[in-house]
Symmetry: C2
Subunit: 337 residues, 2 copies
């Protein structure tokens, strides 16, 4: 019976992932029912608020235009810390390597991790290396965990969205997922599509400098894409989010690949973009500040929050209709991160 086995879709970040986590993993591990799920846990420790998070990276291929599994592992975990408003400080690095893996590739990966860590201002302070026999893993898997410190007055959570808030995205959507997919499938494109893989903590600092109180939610739309992430926020905050399709920043090459392959960019993973839900009076100032940052040049207001709806997300299409947006069902692009 399918129900007895773990499926690829259970790792998608979408509906099946949520069900597996809420039905089985989280109640077992935490002993509490599924609470609001943010990108990192925020812990009180002797009067200090620490953020703590982890992610494993199993991307295929391990090298792709714009990054590799190592830069992804550093930036992804830095971003999860930044999304709860923490200053990322320390990372761990757990390598699981398949026997026969190239030493040169390993060197390239760890060098890239170091450069990414330097760029993000974090230090990789502890690690572990395991090797499994040939055929028991696929080249290399990397886990990073991260610790950050939350400054006073910064409280961000997916449950903080309020009616009237504006929804801002920091740039074009779907670049990472399409870059990895094109690389994996060997698509011949006239324009190379590059992953947006980048550390967002600098951009977050800019954004918070505009006004801590008015920034309600930050989230990086990775697995499951913008649609799934917004659906999570809508559910956590019990509000309705309405997107304006025409406002979504989209690279022309990414748009083209999505159209040909029948993929909806709203569900494609990003690794260097954030969604910010901010108070309406702050929206213009935040947008302005983001656009002056290299990682926020294409930032745009893409929608707004209204009351009620019990977690509804909808999109106003180019022709003026409204359609509902659900979480990713099944698995659209496996092993994208």
């Amino acid at each position: 019976m399918d129900n007895d086995l773990i499926l690829l879709g259970h790792g998608s970040g979408g509906v099946l992932s949520h069900k597996l986590l809420s039905d089985l993993v989280i109640p077992a591990l935490s002993g509490t029912p599924l609470a609001g799920q943010d990108d990192a846990a925020v812990l009180e420790l002797n009067g200090q608020r620490l953020a703590f998070t982890t992610d494993s990276y199993v991307v295929d291929p391990i090298f792709f235009p714009g990054g590799h599994i190592g830069t992804l592992a550093v930036n992804g975990t830095v971003n999860d810390l930044a999304m709860v408003g923490a200053r990322p400080l320390f990372l761990s690095c757990g390598l699981i390597i398949e026997e026969g893996f190239s030493r040169a590739d390993l060197a390239r990966i760890v060098d890239g991790m170091r450069s990414a860590a330097d760029a993000a201002g974090v230090r990789i302070v502890t690690g572990d290396t395991k090797v499994v026999p040939r055929g028991k893993a696929d080249k290399i898997f990397i886990n990073t965990a991260g610790i950050g410190v939350c400054d006073q007055g910064v409280v961000l959570s997916g449950s903080n969205a309020r009616p009237g808030d504006k929804i801002i995205v920091s740039g074009t959507i779907g670049d990472h997922g399409i870059a990895v997919m094109a690389s994996r499938e060997g698509l011949q494109l006239s324009t190379e599509i590059r992953s947006d893989c980048a550390a967002l903590n600098g951009l977050v600092a800019e954004l918070l400098a505009v006004g801590k109180d008015g920034v309600r939610v930050l989230r990086d739309p990775t697995r499951g894409g913008v649609a799934t992430t917004l659906k999570e926020i809508a559910l956590q905050s019990d509000v309705t989010l309405t997107l304006d399709e025409a406002a979504l920043p989209l690279d022309q090459a990414v748009k083209g690949v999505c159209a040909i392959l029948g993929l909806d960019p709203l569900y494609v993973a990003n690794e260097g973009k954030l969604l910010a839900l901010v108070a309406p009076e702050l929206a213009e100032a935040v947008l302005d500040r983001m656009r002056r940052h290299p990682l926020g040049r294409d930032a745009a207001v893409i929608g707004e929050v209204t009351a009620g709806g019990s977690g509804r997300v909808q999109i106003r299409t180019a022709v003026g209709g409204l359609r509902g947006v659900e979480m990713l069902a099944g698995e659209q692009l496996p092993r994208i991160c």
Copy 2:
């Protein structure tokens, strides 16, 4: 050329692991030459000393007498924190699951993680789940990272051993490695050998209560066993360690399997034992206290520290000879943790 590829032995915890880490991984990740390597990093954070560590678990089989990959993942990381004198507080949990894995087995594993966390007094506060296609991983791999707090006055490191210190082991050696190996190979034994998998933070608290200053080094001898761990300490502290073979606590069944298979229990992994190097005047009191703890009942003084020798470890055999002890070369028992 072999030198260009990662070998199983690079994950052994022995010579090849050390070489890979010191030649390639650590300089790249940290930007500094190989420093003294303790089980966890100790970090200063606003006047507080935090310990931070990570380990990935790839044990085969995933269930074995005395534990499973989940209990191992919790206890192993708790122990790495305890070995630097930290009180373990928070864990992360990163699951990499092979498509088609049994949901019932996953439930059993996460339930076991929860029980182990409860027993150790730690909370699993953040996690991640990835699923890879069938054949791209071997059932399930688990990474845990952990955060602990170091109390004032507790400074433990492999580099603190001093001439005259006594070497204490908390119990019988080699149980975990032999239990996993016997289970993997389906050995029919008259007495079941069980892994010693357990959280040692309670035992460490007892031991430190005897006298913080006199406890110089704590280490849990996992991959590479007691021999490799003592060699690391000898090198870090630049001293000679001399073991008394007759004093090594050894379960009769484990001894029997080792004799038949030609394995040296000194190199076999433990998952619920610690080595303590303590000032001579404290040794009796520490031993006494440890023996009153369920996890230290078979504790014994197994050797002592002398000056010089540049990291020499030697063992006084039953017939009175002295032989040198080196780190594990190659891979004796792969995928033991």
